[in-house]
């Protein structure tokens, strides 16, 4: 995949001028919360699918995701709750991917991408300070339409939390019914009802582009 193309598609997100955003729009939904203990369980596969397409290397993808979570922890205080936890993590991830390509390019003496602050007064640690919530929704949605793995994990993330956790364990991790029932203190019948609901919701979510 062409590196320049990826960087070009990501750059507008970074160049948003915060002064031009109408803050009244941002007060509409501020009810999202961060729960870093569950990030790996809930988002690692989603971020992995997102990253592997961009960097085409498993180990690099793993490192970038690890860095993303740690950067997320570091910048938790900047989370305003205006975007979902996943969207916020994706906005950090995108910057980490750009960092990765910048590093490669600068190693070759070809660095072309510049991350500019809106003004000199704001200069500083751009990533941790500028992980704004609301600007990446469109870019993320576009990608959901193009990458199967990302689309599937995005749809799983839309399920109710318990349903998603059980579906992940049964379907993605391939755990047996008995183990899951013990862990969640449910009967096998309950498990199959939950799986049925999850599969129906997932099929509807993927219907338009994939089924």
């Amino acid at each position: 995949m062409c590196i320049c193309k990826i960087l070009r598609s990501l750059q507008p997100i970074i160049c948003v001028d915060l002064h031009h955003v109408d803050t009244t729009d941002l007060t509409i939904m501020a009810d999202h919360q961060l729960n870093p203990q569950k990030w790996v369980d809930k988002y690692s596969d989603y971020l992995y699918n997102y990253t592997i397409v961009k960097v085409s290397d498993k180990e690099i993808a793993e490192d970038i995701i690890s860095e993303t979570f740690l950067a997320g922890l570091k910048s938790m205080k900047n989370f305003k709750g205006e975007a979902s936890e996943r969207t916020w993590l994706i906005s950090i991830l995108k910057r980490k991917i750009i960092d990765h390509y910048r590093k490669i390019n600068s190693n070759k003496g070809k660095a072309e991408v510049r991350m500019n602050y809106a003004s000199d007064e704001e200069a500083g640690d751009w990533l941790e300070e500028r992980v704004a919530d609301p600007f990446d929704r469109t870019a993320e949605d576009d990608l959901e339409n193009t990458e199967l793995g990302v689309a599937i994990y995005a749809c799983i993330d839309k399920l109710p939390e318990k349903q998603a956790a059980i579906f992940r364990k049964k379907t993605i991790e391939g755990q047996d019914t008995e183990t899951i029932c013990k862990e969640f203190d449910i009967t096998p019948s309950n498990l199959w009802v939950i799986i049925h609901r999850a599969r129906t919701a997932l099929a509807s979510c993927l219907e338009e582009n994939w089924l």
């Binding site: 596969d45 199967l148 199959w192 599969r199 099929a203």
Partner: protein, 84 residues
């Protein structure tokens, strides 16, 4: 155990088939039900397509050891924050 099942049961059995958790008799129940029920037959087809999508090599999964390593890193950092 009955060979002729209602739509609700057929739906759950169809899900079990996707996970290879259904017995031969349960599989047969689904086949028999689908022969007479267009709705469940459509559901089965859609369910099968969903399974194929999830198992598609393009849908990747982060290795478990990597997840564990990252979780440990996160836990360490969170513990540090709490101790501050």
């Amino acid at each position: 155990m009955k060979l002729f099942v209602d739509c609700k049961k057929a739906g759950h059995l169809c899900d079990k088939v996707q996970y290879k958790d259904a017995s031969l008799f349960e599989k047969l129940s689904v086949v028999v039900h689908n022969m007479v029920c267009k709705h469940c037959s459509d559901y089965s087809e859609r369910n099968l397509r969903l399974t194929k999508l999830i198992n598609d090599p393009k849908c990747k999964k982060m290795p478990e050891d990597c997840k564990k390593r990252i979780q440990q890193e996160l836990d360490r950092e969170l513990a540090k924050d709490q101790n501050k």
